[in-house]
Amino acid sequence: MKQLTALQQQGRRSNSFRSNSSPLDATVDGAIKSPATIFWLFLHGLCCLISLVLGFRFSRLVFFLLFSASPSPSTTTIYSALRTTLPTVSSPPERNVSVDSGGSRVVVGRHGILIRPWPHPDPAEVMKAHRIIERVQAEQRSQYGVKNPRTVIAITPTYVRTFQTLHLTGVMHSLMNVRYDLVWIVVEAGGTTNETASLIAKSGLKTIHIGVDAKIPLLWEDRHKVESRMRLHALRIVREKKLDGIVMFADDSNMHSLELFDEIQNVKWIGAVSVGILAHSGGSEEGDLLMQESDADEKDEKKSKLPVQGPACNASGNLAGWHTFDTQPFVERSAIYIGDRAVVLPRKLEWAGFVLNSRLVWEDVEGKPVWVKDLVEIGKDGEDIESPLSLLKDTSVVEPLGSCGRKILLWWLRVEARADSKFPASWIIDPPLDITIPAKRTPWPDTPPELPAYVEEVTTIPENTEKRPTKSGSKRKRSSRSKRKHNAKVLDIRASTKHAGDN
């Protein structure tokens, strides 16, 4: 806002057409009239000269302050006084033409810019505003949202492993934000454990924690099969307890958007949503993957499209078929066992992309459609149920959701730690970390480090790595930045103080 006076005068007078008929004409006319105006002109000229010399606009208010002789002006009045230039002081009288026909209070001319003493947000007002926003949004939801919201029944198969806390916390927080009633069925392989129980107890949701005797096998293929069996087990619980609502499958490593939960309220019997597949490749394979993709782009094939699994519609909006994930480009490099540093591939159609009305699995309920098989007959021979479509005799009745599969409402991802990684059972690091490298300057007064000890510290570092292991190592394995440091663990620890911020 501060401009050189010369530029100001010019800007006022010639550049913009708005000032074409400038007030200067008025002042020139007025000068002839009275000595007061001559005095004002002289003062004006003096101030212009001072401004030219100083380089910024010299406010004539200073004269007012000098002559008003206020004994000790407080900072607030000075603050507001400097900002509010009174119209009678800083502009010649001709400029102020007030309309007083009918007693108007609105005056043309320069007004002060009113600023309150503390022009910053007031926390009480901010809270009130947020309450208003919430209330307005609730009103919007009641007008345009779902009329009769049904309970959401989320089924999550899980087991205790390094990344369980990571994944399960993500799903938990998503479910905690869902605005509808929720029942969370957590099926755990290898029986219920205290770790899982304590984790899901923190959610405050209504949970049903059940254990299944099978242990999760090492190979991904088998893991998919065991997970399907766990989900079927959960469906049997739904059937036994006659839980009413919409069943959705929230795998613990998937990412759900909250729109998903709004969208599935529209399902009648069985619906399908589009799932975005994040075929993540772990570790150093990523470079190869990128290169391969760029080759594909050059060849201009369909591989450059985002991999999505879900319903495909014809022009009239009815279900015409299915989009599935093309595993072709990954087939050689797919992960075999859990923790393998290769691409983890999804199955043809993931369970997560389907939602069911819970009444489909109930025993006998009127209105149950004829095209659904009874839950008891499925999976009892131990065959692999790949997707809920096996529950149906006729797959054409599936309703496509999310504007016919065009919206991706959840993302499928499978990431697991290496099999030999150790992990902390809770968020406590026990035994506590020792100082491996003393800081050069501690924020608190301390004994300065002894130099000879430094050399010994370095040699003991490899031993320390075993005790406090690759908790950081395995986490960093996920981020692409750590690829280079993967093998050099010694360098890692030393660099850990610098890079702690990255993780």
Partner: protein, 416 residues
């Protein structure tokens, strides 16, 4: 005894049923009827209530001006052109001037544009004068009433004062020849020289198709508390502030620039219309003139307008109860804007949103092509119809003359 019990039971059931009915009705009602000081007049149909005669002026007053600069069809003063087109094909038009209640002169005075697109008003008084001289010499109807049953559309910054600088406009005053005519203008401020009694205030033109194209689903949650995009300081014309917008916009900036509730900036985002639909309050402060197309945009997008312009008169003020729909903040209260807005009871806010959701409200602010029922064109005709029947006294006795044809600055008297 048994009868009475029966009757009692029946009454109880009847009351319960009625209450439920009433409750359901209340819940289903998402909008409210709008009725201003003139009553429930937004939905009136003017056809059959008035007759308008359109003078045939040579094309140098309208078509040729438009041909020189077709930008006049899209800027915010385009109402004068569209009103002309509307009247030419409207059922209220009559070809027989003797039975007309109102006379319309199609002269485009706001179409002389700078390269930037802003209209220059320096020739407008001469154009208007020349047009009036033409109609007064070719038809007897002007002289019969000295223009009292004529109306003119003057959508410029300060209406028929024909200047963009407020002091100059006040000095000039309304063009003397128009002192008896009805003016249809966008400028409205109480106790101001440029607002004649009996003028009809209209909204500025905002392109309806462009706004329709940017509508988003009404279920999108409104998460912005206060929204504004525009200048706070007009650096080219008023660098230090205090002159532009009487310092009100600068005050908004200085007080609320770091307030997370206020999404205000000078950017020109492409998602401007979509953002307005995600906001609860939209600021409509004055600029060089008190009116702005922001009011139209706020109403169309369901955002409660916060009007910061002292003594402003809003469009169709007798048909639309603006105090119930918008929030009026005095310019001196701008530093307390956050307190004012958060202390509005939530029921009031929800009621204002319901009023804004009324489709007749949105229609009344728009100038769609082709014209639709209850749009701004029809509201203008409604306003004209409400002024009927003309008082007998407007007719001049022979030889009598009130208008001074040589009044005004000398430069205006040059022929055009």
């Amino acid at each position: 005894m048994r009868n009475r019990r029966w009757v009692f039971a029946f009454l109880l059931w009847f009351v319960a049923f009625w209450r439920i009915e009433a409750f359901k009705f209340h819940r289903a009602q998402k909008t409210e009827r709008i009725s201003g000081s003139a009553g429930d007049v937004l939905e009136d149909d003017p056809v059959g209530r008035l007759k308008v005669f359109v003078y045939e002026l040579p094309s140098k007053y309208n078509k040729k001006i438009l041909q020189k600069d077709p930008r006049c069809l899209t800027h915010m003063f385009a109402a004068e052109i569209f009103m002309h087109r509307f009247l030419l094909s409207s059922p209220v038009r009559t070809l027989n001037p003797d039975e007309a209640d109102w006379f319309y002169t199609p002269v485009y005075t706001t179409c002389d544009l700078t390269p930037n697109g802003l209209p220059l008003p320096f020739k407008s008084p001469r154009i208007m004068r020349s047009a009036i001289q033409l109609i007064s010499s070719n038809w007897p109807y002007w002289n019969a009433t000295e223009g009292a049953n004529h109306f003119f559309i003057v959508p410029h910054d300060f209406g028929a004062c024909f200047h963009y600088l407020e002091e100059k406009a006040i000095e000039r005053g309304i063009l003397p020849l128009l002192q008896r005519a009805t003016l249809v203008q966008t400028f409205g401020q109480r106790n101001h020289v440029c607002l004649k009694h009996g003028s009809i205030i209209i909204p500025p033109y905002a392109p309806p198709q462009k706004m329709q194209a940017h509508l988003i689903s009404p279920g999108t949650p409104r998460s912005i508390f206060v929204y504004f995009r525009g200048l706070f300081y007009d650096v080219g014309n008023d660098p230090e502030g205090g002159y532009y917008a009487r310092g009100a916009r600068a005050s908004v900036w200085e007080n609320f620039k770091d307030n997370p509730l206020f999404d205000i900036s000078t950017e020109h985002p492409t998602t401007y219309y979509e953002d307005m639909q995600r906001a609860i309050f939209c600021l409509c402060p004055l600029g060089w003139a008190p009116w702005s197309p922001r009011l139209v945009e706020a109403v169309v997008f369901g955002c409660i307008p916060v009007i910061i312009a002292d003594d402003i008169v809003l469009p169709f003020a007798d048909a639309i109860p603006w105090e119930d729909i918008g929030v009026f903040v005095a310019e001196k209260d701008v530093p307390r804007l956050d307190t004012i807005l958060t202390s509005i009871p939530i029921k009031e806010i929800l009621r204002k949103q319901r009023l804004l959701a009324n489709p007749s409200m949105k229609q009344a602010m728009l100038f769609p092509q082709p014209a639709q029922a209850r749009d701004a064109f029809h509201q203008i005709l409604n306003g004209l119809a409400r002024k009927l029947p003309h008082d007998r006294s407007i007719y001049m006795r022979s030889g009598e003359s009130i208008l001074n044809w040589t009044a005004g600055p000398v430069a205006d008297l040059k022929p055009w």
